[in-house]
Amino acid sequence: MLTPITFYAVTTLMIASALGVILARQPIYAVLSLVVTLGAMAALFVLLGAFFVAAIQVLVYAGAIMVLFLFVVMLLDLSPEVAHRARRQTLRGVGGALGLLFLVKLWHALRSLPGATTDLAAAAPLDGTTRAIGLRLFTTHGLPFELASVLVLVGVIGAIVLAKRTLD
């Protein structure tokens, strides 16, 4: 009983905030609405039992990438959109057509999936995705994982060298 309620609550929130992304006049509000959308999407993943994907969704999309978005918006100091009004009509048409195309393709994809189950409760429990990913990360992919630490180290050194005013 609890799952459907949560599901509908989360999806309503998601649709509302997604509308906020495209309707907000101030770019900063659009970005903040996108954060809510992505957060709600993470909640959907939790409902599906994909806890690891949910955590990554929050860390990478709602966290890192959105911070980047905010930085860009603040850096460019965008004014509320007024300048583009002339081109709006055609843009609306193109956007609507693309959205329709996406919905049609999505409908086809859902219909053609072999053995797609509509009963989410039966589909959910894939045992321990985090465990499975962790096992692969530290066995078959152990070396690239360790190597990535050197990459991060180079990034840290580089950022300090380029950004800091005095080094010694």
Binding site: L147, L151, V154, L162
Partner: protein, 478 residues
Amino acid sequence: MSALPWSPMAVELWLAAVIAILIWYDLTAAADDKPKIAILAIAGLLPVFPLAFAHPERSGAFCSGMYLLDPLARGFKAFFALTAILVIAMTREFARHITRGIGELYLLILTATFGMMMLASAGDFLMLFIALEIITLSFYVMTTYLRTDEKSVEAGMKYLILGALSTGFLLYGISFLYGYTGSTNFAALREAIARSPTLPPWPLLGFLLIVAGIGFKVAAVPFHWWAPDVYEGAPTPVTAFLSVGSKAAGFVVLLRLLHGVFEPASGVWMGLLVWIAGVTILYGNLVAMAQMNMKRLLAYSSIGHAGYLLIGIAAASGLGAAAVTYYLGGYLFTNLAAFLVVIAVFNATGSDDLTAYAGLSKRAPVLAAAMFVALLSLAGVPPLAGFVGKFLLLMAAVHRGLLWLAAIGAAAVVISLYYYLLIVKRMFVDPPADPTPIPVSRPVRWGLYGCMAGILAMGIWQQPFLALAVASVRSLFS
């Protein structure tokens, strides 16, 4: 579940330890002591040579195929260590122009070298990608190192944006290959491609995107746009490192991918590579004629050399691969000698323009003589290393029946002689604007002697070097 086998990775583990020690030293040492990091770094690189060739019986694929230890990887680990040692020696000469963070510059040279060594051993696209990113990330920072110099910042910005774009191409291509075969492992991919050697559209698209990504790294036409500006703006030792280390890293990848993974599909890509090679040779050499700045000229000439190296890749034969490694060996000594002279001249005159080289033979005979030998070797005049390398490459092309590609290569030698000899004329015939002698420090002198010895040895006494080149690529074709 077994622990990772560390012993085959002795070289990289040693280098990682050296990097860790240097970070600690850089953090704790007084500002006056920081230039000593160069000595420590060179001392840390020396053990790479015995380690790289130790335990020849301990070869093969390790860590679920992620890490390959074969003669190719071993040979190029030594190559990169030698390059790094010479570049660090150059950086010491150039250090007076670097006002901040000299210790970190040496560190970044070492991390880039570490990435190159891992790249030479990559047996999986995942490893290849991370190793490549370690290299390019280090180079982005090193290119921008003269933060108050507009040209350096512009070069760094251009390199960063275009580099990120090419990385995107590479990743996108890898994802298509993964989607088609379900694997990123080189051995598994090779099997999958051997089953359909005509390459269906999606893996073909992936292949083309990967070639575009690597083509950027080696500065092959039409992915060369970044090279002249970045080479001109970057600090000169970094330019030298880019032109030798980064380029060689790109060619190791090309050898592994085209002569290894995509070898069964060679019928598909040979024609494409032949075109790229021909256009790159002509473009690099023709545009180099119009340059008035030494670093820009060397940038265009390095585009031309990438074209020559691509002949060996396009030939898709053991001879072609051996020729590529031989040519890179000669190119290491030749190009680093040329950049060493560029640094010495810049230190004395404060300019990289060709006019600064007028009458160099009267001001500093050693520099002029070294530049003379290096330029003739770059052009491919016997009995120098460049001649033997070009000869092998053209021979590989002729063996494959790529006669007109060989003809372009031979014609471009004449073009390149024209602009190389114009510099020689400036150095030996033109009167110097300022006749005061240029002092040549002992490290520069010894570095130049070492490079001269390498150029002459690889030109006259080819047999042992050729045997080494053939041995290093043999595992690709077994």
